[in-house]
């Protein structure tokens, strides 16, 4: 009495659902719900975290990310232009930079700037400079490749038209090519902004004053006073307030550009 292929597939699907229900029931009976509630949803801790989690931590995360993104974008544009330069040493420098900073942990860059540079050169950056430089240096390595791909995706005819109207190479680049390139790479740049938002947490390794806390540091500090997972859940949700809309924005921009894909590598 062999079952048909379709019947077998149907039974297989049922058995999977059954398995899931069984597992869910076992967990529901065995779990200590009161402990889970106090661990994740300690309302007293939540109450203590507001409003500082928004007015200080979330605000600082946004500021640090914006600083790093702005510096990274500028440096990334320079690196992209170097990578496309007709002067070979510029290309080499850009390639080495990009490969180096894409290949090492961002945390290492933060440690280097926060502790290495002061010891080696007796230069002490303030918190804003540190986070801007560290995030920017790492972000630039990724954004350079994206920007380069965007510049190369601008049709050759655009440059020819610009040059035919008497624009110099540099003028055509600034006036015609780069504005169009940024339109093309808006979706991947938005993704890069999401990554930097999360990487801004790495500043936690540095000693921060209370009003300099960003989300991760804030969550960690709250944790030490209130031993539960609640602070982590709260700051995690705060990250999502930033990253989820950016993710939707990125996908929206991608759809709007007609799914024109840019190869980044």
């Amino acid at each position: 009495m062999a079952l048909s292929k379709r019947k077998r597939a149907e039974y297989f699907r049922y058995s999977q659902y059954t398995l899931l229900v069984v597992i869910a029931l076992v967990i529901a009976f065995l779990a200590d719900w009161e402990q889970i509630r106090t661990a994740f949803f300690n309302f007293k801790t939540m109450g203590e975290m507001f409003p500082n989690v928004i007015t200080i931590a979330l605000k600082n995360t946004l500021i640090y990310t914006a600083l790093g993104f702005a510096f990274g974008l500028a440096l990334g544009l320079v690196l992209a232009l170097m990578k496309l330069s007709s002067i070979a040493p510029y290309r080499w420098i850009a390639t080495i930079y990009i490969e180096f900073f894409r290949g090492i942990p961002a945390l290492l860059v933060f440690i280097g700037l926060a502790f290495g540079v002061p010891l080696a050169f007796q230069i002490q950056f303030d918190i804003y400079s540190t986070v801007m430089l560290a995030l920017g240096i790492v972000g630039a390595a990724y954004m350079a490749e994206t920007i380069r791909a965007g510049i190369q995706a601008v049709p050759k005819g655009q440059v020819e038209a610009a040059r035919s109207l008497g624009m110099s190479q540099g003028r055509a680049m600034i006036t015609i090519v780069i504005p169009q390139a940024f339109r093309i790479i808006l979706p991947p740049l938005t993704n890069e902004l999401i990554l930097l938002t999360k990487d801004s947490s790495l500043i936690y390794i540095i000693g921060l004053a209370r009003d300099q806390y960003e989300l991760t540091k804030f969550g960690r500090e709250t944790l030490s006073r209130s031993p539960s997972l609640t602070p982590i859940l709260v700051v995690g949700l705060c990250y999502l307030i930033i990253t989820l809309p950016l993710g939707y924005l990125s996908r929206y921009l991608e759809r709007r550009s007609g799914g024109k894909k840019v190869s980044v590598l």
Partner: protein
């Protein structure tokens, strides 16, 4: 000013080992319309692109309005402002609206003020019949409209000579007439024009001189009525027969 607008002598151009232009001499008198015809791959587009140095010639001399472009010390950007170019694929700046397409080079290159640049732009848009499209984006226009805007953009620089690289080849058939109409009007106004085209009717009616190119050489040149109406060279005859009466010919000879 001399009567000669464009003078090309001994022009050679190769891409790698492929010789595309093998020694070309062309003279265009001021106010003349010269049409360049020939099969694809004959080098006619390359010749045109050499006239504003979008392609760097390997050998030969190009003089436009008394300026030798092949001189290494020439300010090519400055020279190009006097040479209008119209492309097969229009190449309007896709991030700028029509008016900005016409003003951007006036402002950045010729350093004209905003008001002056806009006045000149609107006057030229009017010439091509698209004044009401000043605030449209290129993507909102039909191919024929885009090409007319491209012509107006080139005209806004007040060029001495206009180059047209197969300006109607990318257009739907019903839109070709609008663009040719604008070009004919330009010719009537006395613009010096060098036109690479497959539109034999246009060449016959508007051109002062027709040049037939094949295999990197000029095979035949002369008044339109002679080159198109009564070609002497067998290659010209063969080409024109295919173009003018395509249904009465077999597949081309692979040789």
């Amino acid at each position: 000013m001399s009567e000669i607008s464009v003078e090309i002598t001994g022009l050679k151009k190769s891409f790698g080992s492929l010789d595309v232009l093998k020694g070309i001499d062309v003279t265009v008198n001021r106010g003349d319309v010269v049409c360049i015809i020939g099969p694809s791959g004959s080098g006619k587009s390359t010749l045109l692109r050499c006239v504003n140095l979008l392609e760097e010639p390997n050998d030969g001399k190009i003089v436009v309005n008394g300026v030798e472009l092949t001189d290494h010390d020439v300010d090519i950007d400055r020279a190009r402002t006097k040479i209008g170019m119209v492309f097969q694929s229009f190449n309007l700046f896709s991030h700028l609206n029509v008016l900005a397409n016409l003003t951007v080079a006036q402002r950045k290159v010729l350093k004209r003020g905003e008001k002056e640049a806009q006045e000149i732009a609107l006057r030229n848009l009017d010439r091509v019949g698209l004044k009401e499209k000043a605030n449209s984006m290129p993507a909102q226009l039909s191919g024929g409209q885009q090409q007319r805007v491209a012509i107006a953009r080139a005209l806004s620089m007040d060029p001495d000579v206009m180059l047209f690289d197969e300006p109607t080849s990318a257009l739907d058939p019903e839109l070709v007439g609008d663009v040719l109409g604008v070009m004919r009007q330009l010719a009537d106004e006395g613009m010096t024009m060098l036109v690479v085209t497959h539109e034999m009717q246009f060449a016959r009616e508007v051109a002062d001189k027709v040049i037939f190119m094949d295999g990197g050489y000029i095979v035949e040149e002369g008044p339109a009525a002679e080159v198109i109406g009564n070609p002497q060279e067998p290659r010209t005859q063969e080409f024109l027969a295919r173009v003018l009466d395509p249904t009465h010919h077999g597949p081309s000879d692979p040789a």
